[in-house]
Symmetry: C2
Subunit: 229 residues, 2 copies
DNA sequence: TGTAGAGTTCAACGTGTGTTGAATTAGCGG
DNA sequence: CCGCTAATTCAACACACGTTGAACTCTACA
C-alpha cells in the first residue's frame, strides 16, 4: 500500500502530507492556548508535550519547533495576557469607598482569576507551584508583585505603616486569598464552589479588611522595625 | 571482574546476596516512611517508586512486593497515624475560653500539621491534591470530616445554627486555614514562613473566630434553609 | 523560473517510569 | 534434617516521556 488516502483530523491530526497549506495558520497560537489549558488541568509535570500537541491537533515536533522546550513553553504560556495590577487598580479605585475596600478587593481578585483572560494561567500556576520550584517562584512573584504590591499601593497601606508591617499585613491577605482560590478552584469545597463572587466577597471581605487596616497583633520582628501611628 | 566485593549501602543498598537476613526487619515500615517523605516533597506524580525505594535503601521490586502498586502505597502512606480530631479536640477543650476559640484553633491546627506525626502526610496530601483527583478527594474528606467536623462540634456551632449555615461557616474557616498552610508550607511566603505559630495564631485567629461566630452575610441559598437566632 | 524559507510530518533515540517474574537465601515448624 | 515460606535481588518488559533530525511541500520573492 502506498501512503496516500488519509483521513483529515481536527486541525491537521492524522496523516496528511507535510508541507505548507497556508501562510501563518494560527498554529503557534493554538499550541499556546492548548498548553495553557493542559497546564491548568494537570500542572507542569502532569501536562505532556504530546498531550498538548494532540489538543492543538498538531504534531509534537511542532511544539518544539515553535517553543524549543517544555520549560520555555510553560514560561511562554504563563506570561500574562493582561496586567493584573491594572485590572485590580481599576476595580479598586472606581467605586471609591463603598462597600469596603476588603470586599471590593476580594470581588476584584475573584472575578479577575475567573475571567477568561486569566483563568487557565492562574490555575496552571497554582497547580504547578506545588510540583515545580520554577512555577512556585513564578506564583510567588505574581502574588508578591502584581497583587500584593498593587494592593499596598492602592489601599494606601504603604503610607500608613512601616514597610515591614505592610509586608506582613499583605501576606496575611495573601493567606486568605490563596486559600479562597485553593478551596474554590482546586479543591472545590461545595459551599465555597457554589457561592457567587458577590456572596464570597461579602463574607470574606471584612476579614481581608481587618488584615489591611484593622487592629492586629504583629510579630515582634516586624513590630520592632518602626514605630507606627 | 567478578561480582564480589561490594560496598554496603544505607539499609541494604548496593549488591548483597538475596535471601533473608533476619525475621521481619523494619523494611515495610521504612518503605512507608520513605514514601510519605517523597510524596510530601514531590507530590503523587513527582514521587517515583524508584526514588522511594532508594530513600528506603531497598530494591524497587520490594515496594511492589509489599504494597502492590503506587496508588496503594500512596493510600497506605497517607493513612493517618493519629486521629486529628482527637488532637484538635484535646487542644481546644483544655484551656476553656482563653485566648479565644479562633486563636486556639489556628494554633492547634498549625502545630498539628507541623508535628512530626502528621507533617509529611499533610504536605503529601496538599501537594498531591492539585494533580491527582484521588488525592484531592482524600484531602477534601480530611478537611471536611476530621477538621471541620470536629470544629463544628467542639465550638458548639452545630447547636447554634442550621446545618447549612454551619457548613458554610466551617468552609470559610477552611478557606483561611488552607491558605495559611499553602502560603506557609508550600509557597513559603517569607512573612508567613518566618512567623511563629503563636504569632500567626494571634493575627489570624480573630478572622477565624469571625467566621465561626461573628456576624457574616450568608448566601441566599444557606440563609433560607432555616431561621437563625 | 528558481531558490530560500516557513510550516509540517515522520521516525527514531535515549531515558525514566510502573510493574512483573524468576531466582536466591535465610529462618522456622515439623 | 527437610521443606515451607518470607525477604530480598536482579533482569527485563512495555510504555510514555522530552527531544532531535531529516524529509517534504508549499508560499513568497527575486
Amino acid at each position: 500500500m502506498s501512503r496516500a488516502a488519509k483521513a483529515r483530523g481536527g486541525r491537521n491530526g492524522a496523516g496528511r502530507p507535510p508541507g505548507r497549506p497556508a501562510g501563518d495558520s494560527g498554529t503557534r497560537a493554538a499550541i499556546g492556548e492548548a498548553a495553557r489549558a493542559q497546564f491548568a488541568d494537570h500542572g507542569y509535570r502532569g501536562a505532556t508535550i504530546r498531550g498538548i500537541a494532540a489538543a492543538a491537533g498538531v504534531d509534537p515536533a511542532l511544539v518544539h519547533h515553535y517553543y524549543g522546550s517544555k520549560e520555555a513553553l510553560f514560561a511562554a504560556a504563563m506570561r500574562l495576557p493582561v496586567l493584573p495590577s491594572e485590572v485590580m487598580t481599576a476595580a479598586l479605585t472606581s467605586p471609591a469607598g463603598f462597600p469596603g475596600t476588603g470586599t471590593r478587593l476580594v470581588a476584584a481578585a475573584l472575578s479577575l482569576w475567573e475571567s477568561d483572560a486569566l483563568k487557565d494561567t492562574f490555575l496552571g500556576l497554582l497547580k504547578s507551584a506545588v510540583t515545580s520550584e520554577h512555577a512556585a517562584a513564578m506564583l510567588r512573584d505574581f502574588v508578591t508583585d502584581s497583587i500584593l504590591g498593587t494592593m499596598v499601593k492602592v489601599t494606601g497601606l504603604a503610607d500608613r505603616v512601616s514597610p515591614a508591617e505592610a509586608g506582613y499585613r499583605a501576606a496575611m491577605v495573601a493567606t486568605q486569598m490563596l486559600g479562597l482560590a485553593m478551596t474554590r478552584l482546586v479543591l472545590r469545597l461545595p459551599p465555597v464552589a457554589a457561592a457567587s463572587v458577590e456572596e464570597l466577597a461579602a463574607t470574606v471581605g471584612p476579614s481581608v479588611e481587618r488584615y489591611l487596616s484593622g487592629e492586629i497583633e504583629l510579630p515582634a520582628a516586624v513590630a520592632g522595625s518602626q514605630r507606627r501611628t
